[in-house]
């Protein structure tokens, strides 16, 4: 599982947020199955060469967001309350990405209708439907 995790410490995005984002993404994509054990904080810190407290912070946050659960002495696991988790996480990722795109569109002065047009075109490109 750590193979799918990389952090870019030089990025302006805090490392703990990068870890959170990547674990969520892995859950959404089904790379991390529910009930799967995550590496220990120490192990992941050494694997990524980042501060263990940073990893611990990411784990705490993931636990708060109910993506993982930690039982003392056993370790951290992807929450096992069903397959419902992964679509929910996927929706969150998609919503955040759209949010960024729309904010950018607004900041360059596009009007609502123009944005809708662009959105429809993009939608057609990535999610094609047959013309009626």
């Amino acid at each position: 599982m750590p193979a799918v995790l990389t952090v870019d410490p030089r990025s302006g995005v805090p490392i703990y947020l990068q870890i959170i984002e990547q674990i969520k993404r892995s859950v959404a994509l089904g790379i991390l199955q529910s009930g799967e054990q995550l590496p220990t904080v120490k192990q992941l810190a050494i694997d990524l060469t980042v501060n263990p407290n940073t990893v611990a912070r990411a784990y705490r946050e993931l636990e708060r967001q109910q993506v993982i659960e930690t039982s003392p002495g056993r370790g951290s696991f992807i929450r096992s309350n069903g397959v419902t988790e992964s679509p929910k996480v996927a929706a969150e990722i998609g919503r955040d990405a759209l949010d960024v795109a729309l904010r950018e569109a607004k900041s360059v002065g596009l009007a609502r209708d123009e944005v809708r047009e662009l959105f429809d075109a993009a939608l057609q490109r990535w999610f094609p439907t047959f013309e009626k």
């Binding site: 410490p9 805090p14 904080v41 060469t49 501060n51 407290n53 900041s107 002065g109």
Partner: protein, 304 residues
């Protein structure tokens, strides 16, 4: 778990103050990065912490207690430059360390020396700068110390070995020990440190969790349609640390509340308002470079 408290530290060499009223709390069981341009006072701070230099005033406490010689059993130090004995072999340095410190593990030291590809029978005189650093690293990390004070612990090392030293630091922190290090390579600090402090001209100018600093500090950029615009008091917002204005472009360095400031900027008539992330290097450079350093800067609006 050792919290180190530095309060109001002052130290001058001649008339030049090296450390000028410096206070800092370094939490234990973590990696603490001390940053600053050359001559900022990092090495002097370390020397005062270890009793190698006598401060003119101020106090340094380890868990509330002043430094005593017996505490060196728990403290390992890598100085900025090589302090090894040229005429002695690497092996003799290991023996020297073994005789001085009860908890030193010579086998571990030899293991680390092997990973750095250093022949234990060689004299230090025959070693390159990077190899000398590696010897000091090997000795320090085999000490089983609770506090590691590392002044430029990767000086002269190649990228592979630099990464190796970072891993050793991470490993110590994971064991619950405290690592305090300085480095010119901000990328290393960014990766390994949880807390940082930035020094400049003997003073503390910034400190905090690396991730919090990154989350808080943003650049908010906006472009106005023409050159005659007012920021409508935005630059006087307490969260705006600095405002640079070039023709129609305004760039605001904000600490916290970037989205809100961005919205205010848009309401003031700015186009293309963007919120940009800052990495540690940017944060560092903004912290140490005076506001007047950019030629085409309009500082904070004086009034509005």
């Amino acid at each position: 778990m050792s919290t180190i408290t530095i309060s109001n530290l002052r130290k001058s060499y001649g008339r030049i103050p090296a450390v000028d009223g410096f206070s800092l709390e370094i939490p234990g069981a973590s990696v603490f990065g001390l940053l600053g341009p050359n001559g900022a006072g990092k090495t002097t701070t370390f020397k005062c912490m270890l009793g190698l230099a006598r401060p003119a005033s101020g106090e340094i406490l380890y868990d509330g207690k002043p430094l005593a010689p017996a505490m060196f059993e728990r403290i390992a130090y890598i100085p900025e430059r090589s302090v090894l004995y040229d005429w002695m072999t690497v092996e003799e340095h290991v023996e020297m360390t073994r005789r001085a410190f009860r908890s030193f593990d010579p086998a571990r030291a030899f293991e680390l020396l092997a990973t750095f590809n250093i022949d234990r029978r060689r004299r230090v005189r025959a070693l390159s700068k990077g190899m000398r650093t590696a010897v000091m690293v090997a000795l320090a990390f085999a000490r089983n110390a609770e506090i590691l004070v590392l002044d430029e612990p990767t000086g002269g090392l190649d990228p592979v070995n630099q990464r190796h030293v970072l891993s050793l630091m991470i490993n110590e922190a994971a064991k619950g020990n405290s690592v305090i290090f300085s480095s010119h390579q901000i990328g290393q600090v960014e990766r390994a440190a949880e807390h940082i402090a930035v020094m400049d001209r003997g003073q503390l100018i910034l400190q905090g969790l690396v991730d919090d600093l990154k989350a808080d500090r943003k650049i908010v950029e906006g472009i106005f349609p023409d050159i005659t615009f007012t920021l409508d008091g935005i630059a006087n917002d307490a969260r705006v640390a600095r405002a640079d204005r070039t023709e129609r472009v305004v760039r605001l360095l904000v600490t916290g509340g970037a989205d809100e400031i961005a919205e205010r900027l848009a309401n003031a008539g700015a186009m293309g308002v963007r919120v940009l992330d800052l990495n540690l290097e940017d944060i560092f450079l903004y912290a140490v470079s005076p506001a007047t350093s950019t030629a085409d800067v309009v500082a904070k609006e004086t009034s509005s």
